[in-house]
């Protein structure tokens, strides 16, 4: 008999608009990548051998794009496996049927996995076309698909397991995106930084078999590297030398273990072992936290010695511990005074007062302060100004990305979440007008983002002061001498003056301009997120659209601005529309001007510095502001039609 859960999901989910969109986006990205690559690379290849080279190049790129897309799109399909049943309160009914545990778990998993595998198969014609070009073997195609499919299987298995112990599809989905990112980054850091530092004689890349992208990379370059024969290798050496096979075997085996565990626990947990699941989750968090702490402590002690290493560890760990205690205390808070605009108050105060958001804010502040300390170490130790500039660029760009993401996703959940919770009706039955409602929501979100922007200002202002003031005289004692020595520019490099290599010309505009464009774009993204929230019935849908929009808009704006930046005179001004390029122009002005080909003309530099940049930044902020204003106007105008029809 066909699994009824499988059949139900197959019959209903395939027609969902979200899934159609995901499939469309997936194929569009693949085809766009293929088209752009072919247009760019075809001109440089001539002859049959060249066609094979082109085929190989395209195969590599498409394989990578496909894997990354599968890793991040799988959660959209699989994350809600069981939590959706819980949300719809059909899970209990399902458990009361004669279906076995394994049928429930496998039905939930395979039905969702089917859609992932279907979109994976949809790219087969692309690979068939590329195979005609040559340059790669059929085995490479199988391995590429094997890695992608086993990644999807592992993602699905973990999704089902998480779904069994957690409620709330949105929470599962967001948690899952974070999990995939943390896993990919975590394994890479473990392999390339931690184990290299801790284990003597450790060879980087030995854990590639745990990392899908690294394993894929090894598959694609496998033909170019001579590797020992399988038969000559032991189990560990095989995993290290042939990580692509290792990854497929490891992820499949882990998936099976997770599925079996899920099948064993699914009814037990539902039978009132919710407390046990919660405690299990807390224990896992505690173990993971402890592992990170021990690893960090070990690295610090190895590099800095026991006394200094421990001191640094405590310097970071104590504020984190204090934050966790504060985070616990937040759960038992006193009532707060409601503002005269209750909508803004709700958005700013209570929604953000949850323990999780408090912790995020705390970590964000901590990391910003730590970034400034790192900069101080660089300055006091006589480090390279260029390194400092690159560091600040990375920090502010990360902050920018966080601000855009937080703003857009928070706005995306602002109205749809009220709808899901059933509170929207009650608000709409009060005298609150659409204008008041929309403005209140936005005001609350902007107030919340204010803290994030303030931290960005702290970093840019702090960086300026550290660069321009003789801080080594006043604050030199805060930096241990050993650290200062470690970052000092080697004496042999004194004759070399790289671009952006001076501390003294750290620009004043770098304090404010990153904030202006980021703030402008954040306002635009927040209004866009709120538009999704107005239209979407479910918060998860709105949040996914908002997150994808941030990624899409950030990438598109940066690409377009990079291209238009090459236009004579006006290009670099237009480039300021991208917060990333604004950051580049502020922190690495010489590199920026050279990239856009006007570093040789003193007049152009002068024009740009004293006029163009101001116009570009203010124009971009104004443009984003106008976009946000128009969106708000549109939302206020159509509020009644859109919201009152849906409530």
């Amino acid at each position: 008999m066909v699994n009824p859960i499988f059949m139900r999901v197959m019959n209903t989910s395939g027609r969902q608009r979200r899934h159609v969109w995901v499939r469309t986006v997936y194929l569009a990205v693949i085809l766009m990548t293929l088209t752009v690559m072919m247009l760019v690379e075809m001109t440089s290849y001539r002859g049959e051998a060249a066609l094979a080279q082109l085929g190989e190049s395209l195969f590599r790129t498409i394989s990578f794009v496909q894997l990354v897309l599968i890793l991040f799109l799988s959660p959209v399909y699989t994350a809600g496996a069981i939590s959706q049943e819980r949300d719809a309160q059909t899970f209990g009914v399902l458990l009361a049927t004669p279906l076995s545990n394994l049928q429930i778990v496998l039905g939930s998993l395979l039905s969702r996995l089917f859609f992932v595998l279907a979109i994976l198969v949809s790219t087969l014609p692309v690979f068939a076309l590329l195979y005609y070009f040559g340059g790669f073997e059929l085995t490479d195609v199988f391995l590429s698909y094997g890695i992608a499919a086993s990644s999807a299987l592992l993602t699905g298995a973990v999704a089902v397991a998480v779904s069994i112990v957690t409620t709330g599809t949105r929470r599962v989905m967001i948690g899952f995106f974070l999990f995939v990112t943390a896993y990919l980054v975590g394994v890479w850091v473990l392999d390339h930084m931690l184990l290299v530092a801790i284990v003597p004689g450790y060879v980087e890349g030995s854990l590639d078999w745990l990392h899908p992208i690294a394993a894929m990379q090894r598959t694609l370059i496998g033909g170019q590297v001579v590797r020992p024969l399988w038969s000559e290798l032991g189990a560990w050496d095989f995993l290290v030398q042939y990580p692509e096979y290792g990854y497929v075997a490891y992820s499949t085996a882990l998936s099976v273990v997770i599925i079996v565990l899920g099948a064993v626990l699914v009814r037990r947990l539902a039978r009132g072992y919710g407390g046990l699941a919660r405690r299990l989750g807390q224990a896992l968090y505690a173990v993971a936290g402890a592992a990170v702490a021990v690893a960090a402590c070990a690295v610090l002690i190895r590099y800095r010695g026991p006394a200094q290493g421990l001191a640094i560890f405590l310097l970071v760990a104590l504020p984190v511990a204090a934050g966790l205690v504060f985070f616990r205390l937040k759960r038992h808070r006193k009532p707060k005074t409601v503002w005269d605009n209750p909508i803004a108050w709700r958005e700013r105060v209570t929604r953000t007062a949850t323990a999780r958001r408090t912790l995020v804010q705390f970590l964000y502040i901590l990391l910003s302060v730590l970034a400034l300390y790192v900069l101080l170490v660089l300055k006091v130790g006589g480090g390279s100004a260029r390194d400092a500039r690159v560091f600040v660029l990375v920090v502010t760009t990360t902050q920018m990305f966080i601000i855009l993401m937080v703003g857009a996703t928070m706005a995306a959940s602002s109205i749809s979440y009220e709808r899901e919770q059933g509170t929207l009706d009650m608000i709409l039955a009060t005298p609150i007008t659409p204008r008041y409602f929309i403005h209140g929501k936005l005001f609350g979100i902007i107030r919340y983002l204010g803290m994030f922007l303030a931290m960005m200002l702290l970093v840019t202002l702090g960086a300026y002061l550290i660069a321009r003031l003789p801080v080594e005289e006043y604050l030199g004692s805060l930096v241990p001498p050993g650290w200062a020595r470690a970052v000092a520019v080697p004496s042999g490099a004194t004759g070399y003056t790289p671009r952006d290599g001076a501390w003294s010309n750290w620009s004043l505009r770098s304090i404010v301009y990153p904030l202006v464009t980021t703030g402008g774009l954040a306002a635009a993204m927040a209004t866009l997120g709120m538009t999704f929230s107005l239209r979407a019935r479910k918060t998860a849908t709105a949040a996914i659209y908002a997150a994808l929009s941030v990624l899409g808009v950030a990438a598109t704006v940066t690409c377009c601005c990079s291209i238009t930046g090459l236009i004579w005179v006006v290009g670099p001004i237009a480039a300021m529309a991208s917060p990333f390029l604004t950051n580049c122009a502020c922190f690495m002005p010489e590199s920026f001007m050279e990239t856009f080909n006007f570093s040789d003309s003193v007049q152009l530099i002068g024009f740009y510095r004293y006029f163009g940049m101001h116009v570009g930044v203010l124009g971009a902020a104004a443009g984003y502001g106008v976009f946000a204003w128009l969106r708000v106007r549109g939302m206020v105008k159509t509020f009644d039609q859109q919201v009152r029809q849906k409530v």
Binding site: R333, P335, V338, P342, G422, L424, L428, T430, I432
Partner: protein
């Protein structure tokens, strides 16, 4: 206070409310009953300005829904058929939030919140999280919420649904208190016995149409097809039974647990002759009353169980 004329709401092909003519006077407690899917919630949501009627007119406090919705909202208190909870708020914050939404400023806002917390017996839960309240308490909190701005009209959609008996009694007592305060209440419920105790007017809706509207007495009269008396006498009931059976209006006599249930043919308003007969023939009457027709009976007789 509330009046609808040919009020109609259509969702695509589904006619949820069909030419509804409703009339609720000031101070009335109007029980709005009907089977599931009959159109009660849609009607209440239209009166609460949450839905735009497709056709017809709905007036609340003299203002037309859709045309003067902003003027209506401060005058009504709407409790939906579910409890919309702000998970992250405390009880006092929850009430202050809605008080602010109704334009109340501090210190008046704080005073009003304290007053409604007292009225609804929730003062002890002031600092507790909304999510930590029991279902009954949440429902009382929902009622507290709609009292903050002292509305003239209360629109309550299934306020006692899913509550245990104690919570139901508490809500009923609270609503009685509100009725005493002179509020106009439109309440839909499935627990008909409670509506019978609370309401002075009833409207029965089926498939979007109003099948009956009137006072409680009227509804009972309408559904009462025969009069049933409950009679108990001292000593053996057999003699009394024989006497009753010989009376001309009596169609059926049954003995149930020492009480005689006597059915009279048609609607008989004067049955004193029967009492006189029993007394004259030496029966000592312990009980002689007309068996009340329940709202459940009326509901079952007037509706066919059809949905829109």
């Amino acid at each position: 206070m509330i009046q609808t004329i040919a009020l109609t709401k259509r969702f695509g092909d589904v006619l949820a409310v069909d030419s509804l003519d409703l009339s609720v006077e000031e101070g009335d407690c109007y029980g709005f009953i009907g089977p599931n899917g009959a159109g009660k919630t849609t009607t209440i949501r239209m009166l609460a300005t949450l839905l735009q009627p497709t056709w017809g007119v709905a007036r609340v406090c003299g203002y037309v829904v859709g045309m003067h919705s902003r003027k209506i909202r401060p005058l009504i208190g709407f409790v939906p058929d579910y409890f919309g909870a702000y998970e992250d708020m405390l009880v006092q914050e929850y009430l202050e939030f809605f008080a602010a939404a109704y334009g109340l400023r501090n210190p008046q806002r704080r005073q009003v919140v304290s007053d409604v917390l007292e009225l609804t017996d929730l003062a002890v839960k002031r600092d507790g999280p909304v999510n930590g309240l029991s279902r009954g308490m949440k429902q009382r909190l929902a009622v507290a919420r709609v009292l903050l701005h002292n509305p003239k009209v209360l629109l309550l959609d299934e306020p006692a649904s899913g509550l245990d008996p104690r919570a139901r009694i508490e809500i009923r007592e609270l609503l009685k208190e509100l009725k005493r305060m002179g509020k106009t209440i439109l309440i839909s419920s499935h627990i008909l016995s409670e509506l019978a105790e609370l309401c002075n007017k009833i409207g029965i809706i089926e498939r979007g149409k109003l099948v009956f509207q009137g006072s409680m007495d009227e509804v009972m009269r309408r559904v009462r097809q025969r009069t049933v008396l409950r009679i108990r006498v001292a000593g053996s009931p057999e003699r009394a039974r024989q006497l009753i059976e010989s009376a001309p209006q009596v169609t059926e006599v049954r003995l149930e647990g020492g009480v005689l249930r006597v059915a009279l043919g048609g609607q008989v308003d004067d049955y004193s002759a029967l009492a006189r007969l029993l007394v004259e023939r030496g029966c000592n009457l312990l009980l002689f009353e007309e068996e009340p027709t329940s709202l459940e009976t009326a509901f079952m007789r007037l509706t066919e169980g059809l949905v829109a």
